[in-house]
Structure formats: structure tokens, C-alpha cells
């Protein structure tokens, strides 16, 4: 654990807010985009700096910590820091925001200033979510993502029901927020009883303190279920997933790319659900596994039926969320590292596919398979990029999808055979839905006149897609670079979970280690 010599994380959180304020103060439309671009690029550089400052050898501990009292009476602090699990999310959020600002460059015409200001605010809040180490602060940041997203979806959405979609999204997230708040309060109250203190002097929302506070097994179960319920709406898991396809259909593509790429819910499950209720988590990891398997197969099957590219990407992403959950539930090093890898892939692959869907939407006014067909002939560059990301999403060797999927399947199989088999079935189904949709949209004869007049990718768009494309390829060939970053943190995460649970539950046999003769 080390405090930061210089408040770099706070700077990263504050800079976009400042940017948004500057955009608000300068009434010129023309400068807006440039300010946003400069701020977003600075963010990428700063988060890159954090990644360099971060010491992976000590990744098990939180680093660059900043600690200031915020509401002293309730012991709610402004406590932020990063460890090996969260460090990669920072540059990825910054990069994704930069991508979506570039993608919005020419596509947003009305209320331009507000749009870019909201994007920057969203970036600040997202980075806050990934670095908050105080449960209350985390809750605050995760609820603060709602206002920018609500307006981004409802004001610039491309579907006719965008307002409904925004409302639906907000309601689902608020629904998820309630159990989260309950769980956070429960943990704070438990700290009072654990130290035999009194209210409100001994309330604690500090994650580092809470991780070491013992919790009775009944309370653990309660906290586990509440956290899981809260995060399953955000992740999203079946049956709380219906907001995602709706939002993807109605929202603006550069914003939905952000939404699909940053999995706050899964991050929450990794950061809070399991470590804060370790023995319950180990004992009930099978529920996570089953939930993951159902989510995986269910949405993969539904994806087979989709006729719209954005809806397809939505269900594909839900399906991959299921796979990640299986990896986490396996409670093995491979499963966990695979899950972290896959979370990284969401930002690279799903978001890029969503941006490509946006480019197609801009050109033809539709993402429906029936309005497209034969795109490969008229837009070879777009098709090339699409194929690369599509194949990465299937998990083809040579792309970053493969090591993640391999690790996840290895972890799942060593935890339980049925989990492994559902993961394998998921990988076959993934190829089926992706390729059959690709066939309808990109291959075959051209039937629509609007497709015939389609323009291929412009240099700006190519430059935008090149960054994730190169990362996908680089990590496909050198996955170790990523794995080394979170190795220590993942080991500590896992041993914390398994040790705590064996301390408290000596008699129970964890699900993850079936005995073999």
C-alpha cells in the first residue's frame, strides 16, 4: 500500500470535469470539439502515466492512494487508489472516451456543446468508479453515471423510442442501486458491532478496513445476495438484461459503445461481491456459475435470431458477460485472469464492433440485415475491420479474444465439467450467430440501392479503428504482457477469498476444488 506523491488519480477525475466546465463557458461551437479532443487525449496520456507509475510486482496492494475525509461524522472518506485489477480499466476508459469523441465528431449536430460536456463528465465518473475504494464513494460514482447517460441516450438517440429507452435504463440502474446501498449500509453497521463501537463513531465505509472485518455467515449470505442482485442489473445478467438491447437500439452508437465496453457491473462483482463476503462467495460460487451458464447459453441462442446488428451485439455482449461470470465462479487463477482479460476485450472488441455498426447506420440509415447485404463489395476497408473484430469476438487465435477464452474455458473445466461444457457450447454458438449474421450483411449479392452508393471508411474513421485493431492483434500474440499486470492482484484476490472461507468454514468443501483421486 502506498500513497501517491502527487494526486494523479484526482487529477484524472477532475480534468474532464474542468473540460466540461470550460466547454460550458465558451459559447463557440467550433472550439468545443477541439477542447473535448484535447482533454480526452490528455486523459489518455495521464492514465497511461498511471499505468507506468503502477508497479505490477506489488499489484496485490492498492497504490497511488489518496485519502481525505469527506463526511467526517459518518466516516465517509474520499479514498481512491488502484491495484492490479483496476489499473487497466483506467486507460481503457480514457481510450474509449477518446474514440467516442472522435466518432461523434461529425455525427452530432444539435446541442454539440452539451454532448461533448456530458461525454467528458461521464468519463470522469467512470474513472471514479474504477478507482473508488470507499464503498459510499463507489456508490455515489456509480449512480452519477446515470444523469449523463440519461441525457446522452434521450437527447441524441437514433431510435424513435429513445426517451423510453433512457427511462428504462435509469429505472433498471436505480433498481440495482437499492440493494447495493443496503449491502453497503449492512457492512458499515457490521463494522460497528465487530469492533464493539457505537454509532456513528465507528461506522466504516473504507474498503480496506471492511475487507478485514469479520462477518457472520448469515450476514455474509445476505450481503452476497444483495450485491449480486445489485450488480446483476448493471452487468447485465439474465433476467435483468432487457434494458441493454433496448438502449442499444435507441441510443447513439458512440455512447452505446461506451456502455457496452465498460462493464461496471462485472467490475463490481469482482471488487465487492466476492471479496466482501468471502465464505458465502466460495460456498455459493455454484450459483454464480449456473447464473453465468444460463446467461451465456440463453443470450447466445437469442442472438441466433437477431436481424439487427446492434441488437445482435447486445446479446453477444450479454453472452460474453455470462462467460466472464463462469470464469469468476470457477475460483481458479485461470478463470479469474481470463475474466479480467475478457473484461479488457469488451472495451476493445465489442465497442469497436458497435462503432462500426454506427458507421453503417450513418451511411445507410439502418442496421437491419434486410436493408443491407453485400457490404464487402462496396466497403472493403470497413469489412476488413469488421472481420477482424468479429473474429476476435469469436475467439480466433491471433486475436486477443483467444487467450481470454482459452483461460476462461480452462478455468471453467477445472471447476466443474458442466460449466466447461456450457462454455464450449457457447463458443460454438458464438461462431454460429456471428457468422450467419455476417453472411447476411456483408456477403452475398447487393440488393439495396442505398448499399450500392455506400462510401467506404474515411481516414478519420480508419485512424479511430486502428488503435483497438492493433491492440487486439498485439495482445493476441503477446497476452503475457497483460496477464503479468494483474497476476499479483489476481493471486491475492483468490487467496483472500479461499483463506477467509477456510478460516470460517473449515468443514465446507469449496465448489472450486472437486477432489480427484
Amino acid at each position: 500500500m502506498s500513497t501517491a506523491p502527487f494526486p494523479v488519480l484526482s487529477l484524472i477525475i477532475l480534468l474532464p470535469v474542468m473540460g466540461a466546465i470550460i466547454i460550458g463557458l465558451i459559447p463557440k461551437q467550433a472550439v468545443t470539439k477541439k477542447i473535448a479532443l484535447v482533454i480526452a487525449s490528455l486523459e489518455v496520456i495521464l492514465t497511461g502515466l498511471v499505468f507506468i507509475l503502477f508497479n505490477p510486482a506489488d499489484g496485490a496492494h492498492f497504490q497511488l492512494i489518496e485519502h481525505y475525509p469527506w463526511i467526517p461524522r459518518l466516516h465517509i472518506d474520499y479514498l481512491i487508489g488502484i491495484d492490479g485489477i483496476s489499473v487497466l480499466f483506467l486507460p481503457m476508459s480514457a481510450l474509449l472516451t477518446l474514440c467516442s469523441i472522435i466518432a461523434a465528431w461529425n455525427s452530432v449536430h444539435h446541442l454539440q456543446r452539451l454532448h461533448f460536456a456530458l461525454l467528458l463528465l461521464l468519463e470522469a465518473v467512470t474513472i471514479g468508479v474504477f478507482s473508488a475504494l470507499d464503498t459510499m464513494l463507489f456508490f455515489l460514482f456509480s449512480e452519477l453515471t446515470l444523469p449523463p447517460l440519461f441525457f446522452l441516450i434521450s437527447l441524441w438517440g437514433i431510435g424513435p423510442k429513445r426517451r423510453n429507452a433512457a427511462l428504462k435504463y435509469t429505472l433498471f440502474m436505480l433498481f440495482g442501486g437499492v440493494p447495493l446501498l443496503f449491502a453497503i449500509l449492512l457492512l458499515a453497521m457490521n463494522h460497528v458491532t465487530a469492533v464493539n463501537g457505537s454509532l456513528p463513531e465507528d461506522l466504516s465505509f473504507n474498503l480496506l478496513v471492511l475487507l478485514d472485518t469479520p462477518l457472520t455467515s448469515n450476514l455474509q449470505l445476505l450481503v452476497f445476495v444483495l450485491f449480486l442482485l445489485g450488480f446483476s442489473a448493471k452487468a447485465p445478467l439474465v433476467p435483468f438484461h432487457t434494458w441493454l438491447p433496448t438502449v442499444l437500439m435507441e441510443g447513439p452508437t458512440q455512447v452505446t459503445a461506451l456502455l457496452i465496453g465498460l462493464k461496471l457491473g462485472l467490475y463490481g462483482i469482482l471488487r465487492f461481491t466476492l471479496p466482501l463476503a468471502p465464505s458465502a462467495a466460495v460456498e455459493y460460487s455454484w450459483t454464480l456459475g449456473i447464473l453465468g451458464a444460463i446467461t451465456l447459453i440463453y443470450s447466445a441462442l437469442i442472438a441466433l435470431q437477431q436481424t439487427n446488428l446492434r441488437r445482435l451485439l447486445g446479446y453477444a455482449s450479454i453472452s460474453h458477460v455470462g462467460l466472464v461470470l463462469i470464469g469468476i465462479a470457477s475460483l481458479t487463477m485461470q478463470g479469474l485472469q481470463g475474466a479480467l482479460f475478457q473484461l479488457f476485450n469488451f472495451t476493445l472488441i465489442s465497442s469497436s464492433l458497435m462503432l462500426i455498426a454506427g458507421f453503417i447506420q450513418q451511411r445507410t440509415g439502418s442496421n437491419e440485415a434486410i436493408h443491407l447485404g453485400g457490404l464487402a463489395k462496396v466497403a472493403p476497408r470497413l469489412t476488413c475491420f469488421y472481420f477482424l473484430f468479429m473474429l476476435a469476438s469469436i475467439g480466433l487465435p491471433g486475436t486477443s479474444g483467444f487467450p481470454a477464452e482459452l483461460l476462461l474455458i480452462l478455468g471453467a473445466l477445472s471447476a466443474h465439467h458442466s460449466l466447461g461444457f456450457s462454455a464450449l457450447a457457447g463458443s460454438v454458438l458464438c461462431a454460429a450467430y456471428m457468422l450467419s449474421f455476417t453472411r447476411k450483411v456483408f456477403l452475398g449479392p447487393i440488393t439495396q440501392t442505398s448499399v450500392n452508393a455506400l462510401q467506404d471508411l474515411r481516414p478519420r474513421e480508419i485512424a479511430l479503428l486502428c488503435i483497438p485493431a492493433l491492440l487486439v492483434l498485439a495482445l493476441g500474440f503477446f497476452p503475457n504482457y497483460l496477464l503479468k499486470t494483474n497476476q499479483m492482484a489476481a493471486e491475492a484476490w483468490l487467496s483472500h477469498l479461499l483463506e477467509q472461507s477456510t478460516l470460517e468454514h473449515n468443514e465446507s468443501i469449496p465448489f472450486s476444488t472437486p477432489e480427484r483421486p
Binding site: 440463453y298 485461470q334 453472411r439
Partner: protein
């Protein structure tokens, strides 16, 4: 000397990158640059042939180490996957042979493909394929082999897609890739099992560890790799994909389905010889599947009327024989058979376009009289024993229908249960509005004062509604129209659910769930 092995797959890969980037950027696009592309592809492949043959020569002089380690690719806890290559024995022989055949095919395709629209694309895919194939053969561990295995499959997908604006080609390509994906899943299963049970994914280590494996473990590993091999080499239930793959230019058919890629299944089985020796069940399966495929291919091949289909069934029949030989324990024989078959098949595929000239005026061999008399056999053979339709009927259609049902369920039930935001317009805000609505046709006393969303909202609404309904009944008494309608609706819903549940696909799912829980 050993380090040269890296260049064998690397050189064609570099060629593929150059051609690919050249096409994207635009300096290799028109007909003038065709010769540049062809030269790049040809030179790199022949260089890798020279390297392979040099290495083979030194290996024959016993100057090679058995493997060459490049570095670590991935590590997670005790799982460590290296990039390493085998530098001796059968792998090197095969590498030399295949790179020679690839060079020949590339040379022939320069004239065959001249001034075709996809000339550059064709050479890009072929270079990538030769790199993938060399990696498949030379890699010293299972993951590396899988790398090549999958990229080779992708190349085959791209070449079936050669004329991508033809609908049939695209359907076939998708079908072939998804079928192959089943084999790939089995391959990954094999990798995982060998990691959990034998704690290694390196081929040489796996061979030495094989002796310590129990029969059950060996059978598990062998069966999953065998399934992967069956799919890749188009053995019995999977044979139909091979016919679908016959789209695309003839030279590519030669390398993929005649001479090279199709043999990778047999090669995989040969690599795992010691593991298979420990697993009698897997050996039995090799014999059975190999035997059935040989018989099937012979019978179906008799009635094929075009040259390519006939060659395809000849190939799958020969591969069946190779699996049969492996299953019976004649490993060395199978390896020789593989090499010989690869050479012969390259020749026969490359001459296929001019075969009509060669056999002009000569009668076609007729099937045995005893067999020719069987009308049913003729029909069955002509229909390829309905294998395609059978998989469609047993696998693809049920999955499609299940997907359809689930998609309906998701849109109409889950979405409703989870709550759709009801805009304020839909809510009845005053009693007057309620009155209006009641007069406007809603005479069945559905007392909706409120319109809500979400599970909790719905529950509240339902509760309120029912209390009101009960009160109404209590005042009015007796049986009314709405009770009968409700009863009828309930009955209909129950009928629907029963019908749904009794469909075979759901029964199968229930059985599967039970099995997976018991497992």
C-alpha cells in the same frame, strides 16, 4: 541450426502480411502488380521448403536437438504455454513434403488465377494458410497446433468465400466454419483435459506422461482429440462439409481438401500415438469411424457425376483408411499412407480441370453388377445417405426453433416482467378518464386505476386490482361474464404451456440439464 525452424512458418506469414497490407493500402491492387504478389508468395514458400529440407537433412544426420524453444506465450499460475517447435522426426518430414506441395500449387495457381478479380486475396489467403499449416505441424505444444489448426480453418472459410457475392458460397462457407468449430471446441477440451490430468500441453511431454495416465484419463484426452480430428478430416458424421467446401478455385481445393489441411486430423492422431495406445476405447472408435467413413465414401462416390465431388469422396475414403490403420495400431503404415496420399491427391486435384481431355473417349468404370442392381442403394448413394438433411433435422432446426422460442420469451415475457417504462400518458389520471375508458369498450371491469412497471410495481398493481375486484364481486355477487372469460384464458394458457413442454427439444433440454447436474 535449430533456430531456423522458426522461419519456416514465419516467412509465409510475413508474405501474408505484406500482401494483406499492400491490398489495404493500395499498392497491390490492380492487374499490373499481380506478378509482385505471386513472386512474394512463391519465394517465401519455396524458401520455407528449402529451410525445411535442410533441417530434415541435418535431422537425418542426427544433428538436431528434438525441440526448439522461442519463449513463453502465456502464463497463469502453473499453466505455462510456450512457443516451441519440434525439430525432428515425422513432423519435419511432413513439413518438408507439405511446403513442397504448397510451392507446386502456388506455382500452378499463378497461371490458373491470372487476371481473376480476387488474385491478391487468393495469394494472401494461401500464404497465411501455408504459415498456419507449418505452425500446426511444427508446433511443440497443443496450443500452438491449435493456433495453426484454427487459422487454417479460417483460411478455408475465406477461400470458400472466394466468390462472396454468390449466396450459395456464403451459406456453404458459414456451414463449414461452424461445423469445424465443433471440432475446435473438442480440441480445446482436449487441451484442457491434458492440462488438468497430465499437467502439460507439450506434445513431447504428453508422450512421456502418457504411461502414467490411467486408462480413463487417457481415454478422455484421446477421445476429445479424436473428435477434433474427425471433424477436421471429414470423417463419418461430418463428411458432408467437405462437399460444401468445393466452392472456390481448384488450386485452393487441392491444398485444403485434397492434399494438406484435410490430413491434419490424421497427423494429430499420430502425434498422440502413446496416449491412444493407452486408450483401447479410443482406438476402437478410430477403427469404427474410419471403417464407416471408408464404406460410406465408397458407396457415395460411386454415383457422383462431377469430378470434384468424386475426388472428395475418394479423399475422405482414404482418410478413413488412415484412421482405420491408426486404430489397428499400424502407426508407421498410416504415416506412409498419409505422405503418399498427399502426393497423389495433389496430382489428381491439379489435373482435375483437364481430366475431361485426358479421359476423352474412354468409358467410365461401372460399379459391381451386384451392387448396381440395388435400386435403394442407388437412391441412398445419390442422396449421400441423407446426412445433410439428418443433421439439419436433428441439430440445426431444433436449435433454430429453440432460439426462436427463447427470443419470443425474452421479448414478450421477460421484458414485460422486468418492466417497461410506461409514459405518463398511458396512466389514467382522473376518475373521469376512467369513466371514459370504461364506456369506450372496456366493459369487463378490468379496474386499472394505475399503470405501473417492474415486478414490484406489477405486484402492487395486481394486489390493488384484485382487492378491488373482490370487493366488486362481494357487492355484486354471482357469476359474471368476466369469470368465464378468465377461466377460458387460463385454460388456453395451460394448454399452450403443455404443448410447448411436450415438444422434443424441451424434453431433450430437460434431460441434458438433469444429466449435467448428475455429472
Amino acid at each position: 541450426m535449430n533456430s531456423l525452424v522458426v522461419l519456416i512458418p514465419l516467412l509465409p506469414f510475413i508474405a501474408a502480411i505484406i500482401i494483406g497490407i499492400g491490398q489495404l493500402v493500395g499498392f497491390l491492387r490492380d492487374e499490373d502488380s499481380e506478378s509482385t504478389t505471386a513472386l512474394i508468395a512463391l519465394w517465401t514458400t519455396s524458401m520455407s521448403f528449402l529451410l525445411a529440407s535442410t533441417l530434415l537433412g541435418t535431422d537425418l544426420l542426427h544433428k538436431n536437438a528434438s525441440s526448439f524453444l522461442v519463449g513463453q506465450w502465456l502464463s497463469s499460475e502453473n499453466l505455462s504455454i510456450d512457443i516451441n517447435f519440434i525439430t525432428h522426426g515425422f513432423s519435419l518430414v511432413l513439413s518438408t513434403l507439405f511446403s513442397l506441395l504448397l510451392t507446386i500449387v502456388l506455382y500452378c495457381s499463378i497461371n490458373y488465377m491470372l487476371r481473376e478479380t480476387g488474385f491478391h486475396r487468393f495469394f494472401f489467403v494461401l500464404s497465411l494458410f501455408s504459415s498456419a499449416m507449418q505452425l500446426l505441424i511444427l508446433s511443440g505444444n497443443a496450443v500452438g497446433t491449435f493456433f495453426g489448426w484454427e487459422i487454417a480453418g479460417l483460411c478455408s472459410y475465406f477461400l470458400i468465400l472466394y466468390t462472396y457475392n454468390r449466396a450459395v458460397a456464403t451459406i456453404n462457407a458459414t456451414h463449414v466454419f461452424v461445423t469445424n468449430r465443433i471440432g475446435d471446441a473438442c480440441f480445446i477440451l482436449g487441451i484442457s483435459l491434458s492440462y488438468t490430468w497430465a499437467e502439460t500441453t507439450h506434445w513431447p511431454n504428453l508422450k512421456t506422461v502418457a504411461a502414467q495416465l490411467t486408462t480413463g484419463e487417457a481415454t478422455g484426452i484421446a477421445l476429445s482429440f479424436a473428435m477434433a480430428a474427425f471433424v477436421k478430416s471429414a470423417q463419418f458424421p461430418f463428411t458432408p462439409w467437405l462437399v460444401r467446401a468445393m466452392e472456390g478455385p481448384t488450386p485452393s481445393n487441392t491444398v485444403f481438401y485434397g492434399a494438406i489441411m484435410i490430413h491434419s486430423g490424421v497427423y494429430l492422431v499420430c502425434l498422440l500415438e502413446p496416449v491412444f495406445e493407452k486408450a483401447p476405447l479410443a482406438m476402437g472408435l478410430l477403427v469404427i469411424i474410419g471403417g464407416i467413413t471408408t464404406l460410406y465414401s465408397y458407396l457415395v462416390g460411386l454415383t457422383q457425376t462431377d469430378i470434384k465431388s468424386r475426388l472428395v469422396f475418394a479423399t475422405s475414403g482414404q482418410l478413413g483408411l488412415m484412421f482405420l490403420e491408426c486404430g489397428l495400431g499400424f502407426w508407421q503404415f498410416a504415416k506412409w499412407h498419409l505422405c503418399a496420399h498427399a502426393i497423389i491427391r495433389t496430382y489428381s486435384f491439379l489435373t482435375a480441370p483437364s481430366l475431361m481431355h485426358i479421359v476423352y473417349g474412354k468409358p467410365i468404370a461401372i460399379a459391381r453388377p451386384a451392387l448396381a442392381k440395388q435400386r435403394w442403394a442407388y437412391t441412398a448413394s445419390l442422396q449421400r445417405f441423407w446426412l445433410d438433411q439428418l443433421t439439419d433435422w436433428t441439430l440445426i432446426r431444433p436449435i433454430r426453433r429453440l432460439a426462436h422460442d427463447l427470443s419470443y420469451f425474452d421479448d414478450h415475457i421477460v421484458d414485460h416482467l422486468a418492466g417497461i417504462p410506461a409514459p405518463a400518458i398511458n396512466t389514467i389520471s382522473s376518475l373521469a378518464e376512467l369513466e371514459e375508458k370504461l364506456i369506450g369498450g372496456h366493459l369487463d371491469h378490468s379496474d386499472q386505476f394505475s399503470y405501473s412497471s417492474g415486478v414490484i410495481g406489477k405486484i402492487t398493481e395486481l394486489f390493488a386490482g384484485h382487492t378491488h375486484w373482490f370487493e366488486n364481486r362481494f357487492v355484486l355477487g354471482g357469476l359474471s361474464k368476466s369469470t368465464i372469460t378468465l377461466g377460458r384464458k387460463l385454460g388456453q394458457a395451460a394448454n399452450k404451456i403443455e404443448l410447448l413442454v411436450l415438444r422434443p427439444r424441451y424434453l431433450v433440454i430437460f434431460v441434458l440439464i438433469t444429466l449435467s447436474l448428475a455429472f
